[in-house]
């Protein structure tokens, strides 16, 4: 399994270093960490959840909103690929947050 986290915007300023995509590949993880990653992806319902409106990520932001972060998470499991769009303007589930934390902690730029 391979997870890519990309920041489309980095909040109140643009930091090129933080905008670079980061990648976690389960092949590079310890067996225990790879298993944890599998569980986190399952819990976050990345593949099991219903397909959402593919245009949602392109919708205008909340009126007048500014400086919010936007992220794209791409999960590749074999031939199956799924993308999740995250924004500060919509609340994230605890499971998604846990997955993000894992990716941040274990990723390589």
């Amino acid at each position: 399994m391979r997870i890519t986290l990309e920041r489309l915007s980095t909040g109140a300023a643009f930091f090129p270093g933080l905008a670079k995509p980061v990648v976690v590949d389960s092949k590079a993880l310890s067996p225990a960490a790879a298993m944890e990653l599998e569980k986190l992806v399952e819990a976050a319902k990345i593949f099991d959840g219903p397909d959402a409106d593919p245009s949602a990520a392109g919708r205008p932001s909340a009126r007048g909103a500014a400086d919010y972060e936007q992220k794209i998470v791409t999960v590749e499991r074999g031939d199956d690929v799924r993308t999740v769009h995250l924004s500060d303007l919509a609340s994230k589930s605890a499971d998604i947050q846990a997955l993000l934390n894992f990716v941040e902690k274990n990723s390589k730029r």
Binding site: L8, F15, G17, A56, G58, G64, A65, A66, V84, D88
Partner: protein
């Protein structure tokens, strides 16, 4: 959150004309996605346009006849989860809470309110006494501050790259300033209009800090977010209005990408079309004008900028050249300003390559706007350096 099958990430910020091209030339899957996007996108854009037009003269009248100006602050804590608004922990008139972030937010909102009230006679964000709400301790190690259209939200930072975001008064002023800009102009948060939106928030944030510290333009540091970067980070702030591109150069954060001249304007889809990148250009123009005139920046050049956004001539899709011309024109009708300030402003815009280097006329610049049909608005909006066909002055760069 939305989940979907894989697609290219730039779908998130694609302007309509590219979507239409995909509609013509893409694969079946791409065509379906593009049609869907265009449909939803158009709907939301129409809704937004209608909402903006809904501010009636009567509503504007109420602002004049409205209640006396008084602060109504409420600070909430999210207790380090991503939930809004969180729990109210300090309300207007209550004493210090002992929580540094809570008290910094409370004081920062107060200074911001007082600045707009005392200097511009503005009654809060909407000039109608809108309560000021902020949430602190947002998320775990959340390293950002943002304006969600209704409230300010501040993270504590991760302690490694960023300190708490309430530490900088100008950042608090910046976030609240987005509310003012939205109320007066509705500048769309994309490409050049988005960079102007960011620029205006930097202006308000910097002026609030200068006003609080009673600094003249030559005494001010013109930094945005000084103190925000943690110890060990190679940088001094988020941005520099004086010298865009010099605020940080760090192995992890990267190098400050802000240009200070139109020659270096960055065409990008990242960062909502470079809103935090290309804002360096108008930021530097403001700095140059303010330091050329001298004294307190909020008294003259700041006042011109405020009168410009109040003029109702700054629209959702206004870009650099048109905004520059509006500030030049507004200088002559701004109390306390005249040909000297107008010349300083025109020269500043020329110095950063937005206007031509010509002797400014002391008569009001004429700015005519072309048709603002929604269908073409966002296509022109993307237009980077070329997009402004409505300006009476060209920078000659072919943009």
């Amino acid at each position: 959150m939305c989940t979907c099958r894989h697609r290219h990430s730039i779908f998130c910020v694609l302007p309509p004309y590219i979507l239409k091209s995909i509609q013509k030339n893409g694969s079946k899957e791409q065509v379906e996605a593009a049609i869907n996007t265009l449909s939803v996108d158009s709907t939301f854009r129409s809704v937004r346009l209608n909402l903006t037009a809904a501010v009636s003269p009567a509503q504007r009248e109420r602002r004049v006849l409205g209640p006396a100006q008084s602060k109504q602050r409420t600070i909430y804590t999210a207790d380090n989860v991503e939930t809004l608004p969180g729990k109210a922990v300090r309300t207007e008139g209550a004493g210090p809470s002992g929580d540094v972030a809570v008290d910094e937010a409370y004081d920062g909102l107060g200074h911001t309110f007082d600045f707009f009230s005392e200097i511009f006679d503005r009654n809060s964000i909407d000039d109608e006494g809108m309560p000021l709400n902020a949430t602190v301790h947002y998320g775990p190690r959340y390293s950002n501050a943002f304006w969600n259209g209704q409230r300010m939200v501040f993270g504590d930072g991760d302690g490694e790259l960023f300190n708490r975001f309430t530490i900088a008064l100008d950042v608090i002023g910046h976030e609240l300033g987005h509310g003012v800009t939205e109320d007066e102009t509705g500048l769309v948060y994309l490409f050049q209009s988005g960079a102007l939106n960011e620029h205006l928030s930097d202006v308000w944030g910097s002026l609030i800090k200068q006003w609080y510290l009673r600094q003249t333009s030559d005494q001010a540091d013109w930094l945005i977010g000084a103190g925000l970067l943690a110890d060990g980070v190679k940088g001094q702030a988020l941005r520099s209005m004086k010298k865009p591109g010099s605020a940080f150069d760090d192995p992890v954060l990267g190098r400050d990408p802000q240009p200070g001249h139109m020659d270096d304007y960055e065409e990008t889809y990242a960062d909502n079309g470079g809103v935090h990148i290309n804002s360096g250009i108008p930021n530097r123009a403001f700095y140059l004008a303010a330091t050329s005139v001298g004294g307190y920046a909020w008294e003259k050049i700041g006042r011109v900028w405020y009168e410009t956004i109040r003029s109702k001539r700054v629209k959702q899709d206004t870009k650099f050249k048109e905004f520059a011309n509006l500030t030049v024109a507004t200088a002559l009708r701004t109390p306390g300003c005249g040909p000297i300030e107008q010349k300083a402003i025109a020269e500043a815009w020329a110095e950063v390559g937005v206007l031509e280097k010509v002797a400014p006329k002391t008569t009001r610049a004429v700015t005519t706007r072309s048709s603002r049909q929604p269908a073409r608005m966002f296509e022109a909006q993307r237009g980077g350096r070329d997009g402004d066909a409505s300006s009476s002055t060209s920078n000659g760069s072919g943009r």
